[in-house]
């Protein structure tokens, strides 16, 4: 409760209703971009509607998210720094999404007569090890970036952050390379039970790498004009460490079991 008095600093009471336009904009954008555009394409097979819905949704999401981040960086929170406590709570829920996919994998694998099922090519050995090294390195670089920011070394912070983003992109490039190779030899998500799990787990993890890298870009852009927010960087960093940690489970279960 140590922070509590800070949240009510000076007994400043709001005498007007607080508003923010951006969360609602993001929500409307999500509505168009995800359920509407997906259904238009996959259920109703209409290119026109898909383009229309995605065309409405994408700018709304981008506008809303950037405005939201801007507000978050400039406004003083009711309880400053509390997001650092909130992010691990969010990660608990993420853990359970990953666990659900892992549980599905284990259930299918342990009940199968033969494993790997027919149609599974040999999985690469060196590439996943390289990807692991890349991701672990990026966890170290983001930690150094945080330290530099805390010391006020803005230039060092920016370069370490950029290095982290670059490592994230290298990881994603490896994923794309591997996917294109596997898809090329006919190992598609529908091939068998293993392909389903393989693409779901690695794809879901890669989407987290993508989001993590995007968040770092959102930290980086204002940093070029000297604007930084330590809470924001720390949250992005915690998320990135989590993405790194999950990779160990993915890589050990998918490639080396």
């Amino acid at each position: 409760m140590a922070n509590h008095s800070a949240s009510h600093a000076g007994g400043a009471h709001a005498h007007h209703w607080e508003i923010s336009t951006y969360p609602a904009i993001v929500a409307v954008g999500v509505l168009f971009l995800v359920p509407m555009a997906f259904s238009a394409w996959f259920v109703y097979h209409s290119l026109l509607l898909t383009v229309l819905f995605a065309g409405i949704g994408t700018p709304l999401v981008l506008w809303g998210v950037s405005g939201w981040i801007g507000e978050g960086m400039s406004h003083k929170a009711l309880l400053p720094g509390v997001a650092v406590a909130g992010l691990p709570v969010f990660i608990i829920s993420e853990v359970f999404i990953f666990l659900s996919i892992f549980a599905s994998y284990w259930m299918m694998r342990l009940m199968a007569d033969v494993w790997p099922p027919e149609g599974t090519p040999a999985m690469p050995f060196g590439l996943p090890i390289f990807m692991t090294v890349v991701l672990v390195t990026s966890s170290v670089t983001i930690h150094i970036a945080e330290e530099k920011q805390e010391k006020g070394d803005l230039a060092g912070f920016r370069s370490m952050l950029m290095l982290t983003i670059a490592l994230g992109l290298v990881f994603l490039a490896c994923t794309i390379y591997e996917y294109s190779h596997l898809l090329g030899i006919g190992f598609v998500p529908g091939t068998n039970a293993f392909s389903t799990v393989f693409y779901s787990l690695t794809g879901f993890h890669a989407s987290h790498v993508l989001v993590g890298a995007a968040v770092f870009v959102a930290v980086l852009i204002p940093a070029f004009s000297g604007k930084t927010n330590l809470t924001f960087t720390k949250c992005a960093g915690i998320y990135w460490h989590f993405v790194d940690l999950v990779w160990f489970f993915v890589v050990s279960q998918v490639y080396f079991w």
């Binding site: 409760m1 509590h4 008095s5 949240s7 009510h8 009471h13 709001a14 005498h15 209703w17 607080e18 508003i19 923010s20 951006y22 969360p23 609602a24 993001v26 929500a27 409307v28 999500v30 509505l31 995800v34 359920p35 997906f38 259904s39 996959f42 259920v43 109703y44 507000e71 978050g72 009711l78 309880l79 509390v82 997001a83 406590a85 909130g86 709570v89 969010f90 829920s93 993420e94 359970f96 999404i97 666990l99 659900s100 996919i101 549980a103 599905s104 259930m107 299918m108 099922p117 598609v188 998500p189 529908g190 091939t191 068998n192 039970a193 293993f194 392909s195 389903t196 693409y199 779901s200």
Partner: protein, 527 residues
């Protein structure tokens, strides 16, 4: 007008976010209730009545279940009540993440929009609220809309859980220890922990469904090494805990209403919190298999989960004992809120006790998929939770609007509701026990059940009329009802009554920040 609209649509204030949840969930409730009326009318006689085809019945069933649970009960309790009350009750000026809160409510609304689009799109979803494969993968209906309704509302719930868990831990007023929190805050805290852990599993399950249907993956495709039962396991791994996400806040509302209207302490507070709430949180993830007793599984699993299912009645029992104990030597004022609360105690007794035979594998083999199950979960989940919500709406109505909703119409609709639901669901216990299958649009095999169905339909019509009148009464009372004399019409002791205005304004507390003494409790009526 434009400024006012902007202030509401873009609000980040927890009370207004809460009221936006309330409006959305009442809308879902009314439409889903209408579906219930249509289904009851359809079943009033053997054969096809008002539906033009059995598919219509499936769509009604889908919308009724999905919207009642995902659109009304969960958002009403963990959206509206939690938002409106928790910061007020813990003495905070808002939640930890106000913008995230606004995002949560609009994601919920987006989910409501997707659900309501059911009625205008071609190939309506027809997969119940459970979406079991292989039907949901093979149907021509738009399963994607079912999945996205779950995604949007589920993501909204996860964000709300994070927000409130952090708010409750870090933002209590100085001096408010863990054992001085309102029971509603404790119960909802438990519900949010459950949501945080289990909603992601449902999100993953329906995502796999989406992938199977539209991207050709094999999660639930036995021909390629998938497993249909996997879905049922994942689904009920979330959906049984979801019952407690509904049950816990409803019990929390009852505690606060009963203590305030009885001017009494909460009986066995610590046992209720640390045994009741946390007992449920601990056991809730180990009972889901009782939804799959007849789906095929090893006996050791069936028997193990029968034990855990029976075991969970211990923490539930602790909460029930505390509720009844809080009535002991209470000076009860029977306003509308208290009447609903009292009715809840009865509904919970019926619903809870009929759950015990359903926990027994040997009985469930016969009772599964009958109207007995249908009646059981309507008593314990639908009726109990909805009546608790109505108790809460009447109780905190002055805090929302500055006016009282009590009056002759409130009393009349209460009795119509209570009598109507009992007329509806008791016959279903009887015919369920005798073999009436649930979820069927017709019962040509059992023409002897027609009189029971007709009685149930009459009950449903009474309830439907009463619910509509009740909502009209709320709208009327919000605009024209009797003004609450001061901030505390019930002379209650918890912070939202003692420190905030009626209606509560921006920043919650007009005076300085609440600071509490060591002996303060929200139920300190003896002093």
């Amino acid at each position: 007008m434009g400024a006012l609209l902007k202030e509401w649509v873009f609000t980040t204030d927890h009370k207004r976010v809460g009221i936006l949840y309330l409006i959305g969930s009442i809308a879902a409730f009314l439409v889903a209730g209408l579906m219930a009326m249509l289904m009851r009318l359809e079943q009033s006689t053997v054969g096809l009545n008002i539906a033009t085809s059995p598919d219509d019945y499936n769509v009604w069933l889908y919308f009724h279940g999905a919207a009642m649970i995902l659109g009304f009960l969960i958002p009403g309790l963990t959206g509206f009540f939690a938002n409106f009350l928790i910061p007020l009750q813990i003495g905070a000026r808002d939640v930890a993440f106000p913008r995230l809160n606004s995002f949560s409510v609009w994601l919920f609304w987006a989910g409501i929009v997707v659900a309501l689009l059911t009625f205008v799109i071609p190939d309506k979803p027809d997969v119940m609220w459970t979406g079991y494969p292989p039907y949901s993968v093979k149907t021509l209906g738009n399963t994607a809309f079912y999945v996205f309704t779950v995604h949007l509302i589920g993501f909204s719930s996860i964000l709300a859980s994070i927000n409130f868990i952090v708010t409750i831990i870090y933002m209590r007023a100085p001096g408010m220890g863990w054992n001085q929190m309102n029971m509603f805050v404790w119960c909802t805290f438990g519900a949010f922990i459950i949501q945080l852990v289990f909603v992601p599993v449902l999100a993953a399950a329906v995502t796999m469904l989406l992938f199977d249907k539209y991207l050709g993956t094999n999660f639930f495709n036995p021909a390629q090494g998938g497993d249909v039962l996997l879905y049922q396991n994942l689904f009920w791994f979330y959906s049984h805990p979801a019952v407690y996400v509904i049950f816990l806040p409803a019990v929390g509302i009852l505690f606060d209403v009963i203590a305030a209207m009885g001017k009494n302490r909460v009986f066995n507070y610590k046992a209720a919190v640390y045994g009741g709430v946390f007992g449920i949180v601990l056991i809730t993830g180990e009972v889901w298999v009782h939804h799959l007793y007849v789906a095929g599984m090893p006996d050791w699993l069936r028997i193990g989960q029968m034990v855990t299912t029976l075991l969970i009645s211990v923490p539930v029992g602790l909460l029930v004992i505390s509720l009844w104990g809080s009535l002991y030597r209470a000076a009860i004022t029977f306003n509308t809120a208290m009447m609903y609360a009292a009715a809840c105690l009865f509904l919970l007794l019926v619903g809870g006790l009929t759950g015990i035979p359903l926990a027994m594998t040997v009985l469930t083999v016969n009772l599964s998929e009958t109207a007995f199950v249908h009646a059981h979960f309507h008593f314990v989940m639908a009726l109990f939770a909805a009546f608790a919500m109505f108790a809460g709406v009447y109780f905190w109505f002055p805090k929302m609007t500055g006016r009282l909703a009590d009056g002759p119409l409130a009393t009349i609709t209460f009795w119509m509701n209570l009598i109507g639901v009992n007329i509806t669901f008791w016959p279903l216990f009887i015919i369920g026990f005798r073999g009436m299958p649930r979820r069927y649009y017709d019962y040509a095999m059992f023409p002897e059940f027609q009189p029971y169905h007709q009685v149930a339909t009459v009950g449903a019509l009474i309830t439907g009329t009463a619910m509509a009148l009740m909502v009209i009464n709320w709208i009327w009372a919000a605009a024209k009802g009797k003004k609450a004399e001061n901030g505390n019409p019930w002379r209650a002791k918890s912070l939202e009554w003692t420190h905030a205005d009626c209606p509560a304004g921006p920043g919650n507390f007009p005076g300085p920040d609440p600071k509490l003494d060591a002996d303060w409790t929200p139920y300190n009526y003896a002093k």
